[in-house]
């Protein structure tokens, strides 16, 4: 897939940071607002797909290697399972929320009932959201990138 016109490239360059920031916001506030790692990762990955469509897969592949995306995705998966195993180590069971109630990182328990949200709550839930978000971003962008690069026409091949 080759790039599109200059107008499309400019507009996607302007909107790409906004989409990325919104997706990262959804990931980071997964324990407070609707959304989470999967949803925010899908938003960021769709922004990356927009860049892929507007700039073309050859331009993107010269900057982002699919191998690095695989490494990032595996890193997210390993972090997720590692957090679950830490629950087994510090708590009693697999997936134990061992950080909650410790008043350390993300360990504050909010006041009961509906109220203003504090980001420093949730125990391991925000950390798991980050891990899953990284995994979803890298995984979905890797899928789209590989498929787009495979469907480029013969004449564009270097």
């Amino acid at each position: 897939m080759s790039g599109m016109s200059k107008i499309v490239k400019t507009i996607s360059s302007i909107t790409f940071p906004l989409i990325t920031i919104y997706g990262l916001y959804v990931i980071a506030h997964g324990h407070l607002t609707p959304g989470g790692g999967f949803q925010g990762g899908a938003i960021v990955a769709s922004g990356c797909a927009m860049m892929l469509v507007s700039y073309g897969s050859i331009w993107i592949v010269s900057r982002v290697k699919e191998k690095n995306l695989s490494i990032l995705e595996s890193l997210g998966a390993v972090c997720f399972i590692l957090l679950a195993l830490l629950g087994l180590g510090f708590g009693a069971v697999f997936f134990n929320n061992f950080l909650v109630g410790t008043n350390s990182l993300f360990g504050v328990v909010p006041a009961a009932g509906s109220g203003l949200a504090d980001i420093n709550t949730g125990g391991v839930i925000p950390l798991m959201n980050f891990a899953v978000g990284l995994k979803v971003i890298a995984g979905l962008f890797g899928i789209v990138l590989v498929m787009a690069h495979a469907s480029r026409t013969k004449g564009e091949k270097k």
Binding site: G30, L32, P34, G123, V132
Partner: protein
């Protein structure tokens, strides 16, 4: 009508009957048959997991294994797609 058409109409009406009876016999919205698990999660999610979003507390804490399976599915899908398209990307 041929026998083929009659068979199609019969099977369609049987499936439609199942759907209609299912829709008629469903419990009313917001009144599930068993409320023990829902009430337990709604009352205790904030103090037990520290997350204001009860849905995320279910997905990442109470039902963490489900999310682990979901992540495994995504990982497998990505690995399969990259494996299939690797040869075309040479």
């Amino acid at each position: 009508m041929s026998r083929r058409d009659i068979a199609a109409v019969l099977s369609f009406s049987i499936v439609a009957m199942f759907f209609i009876f299912g829709a008629l016999m469903i419990h009313p919205f917001g009144a599930p048959d068993e409320t023990g698990m829902d009430d337990n999660i709604i009352t205790n999610a904030q103090t037990e997991t520290g997350a204001n979003n009860a849905v995320t507390s279910v997905v990442f804490d109470y039902r963490g294994f489900d999310t682990l399976g979901e992540a495994t599915i995504l990982f497998t899908a990505v690995a399969a797609v990259i494996m299939i398209f690797r040869r075309l990307n040479k």
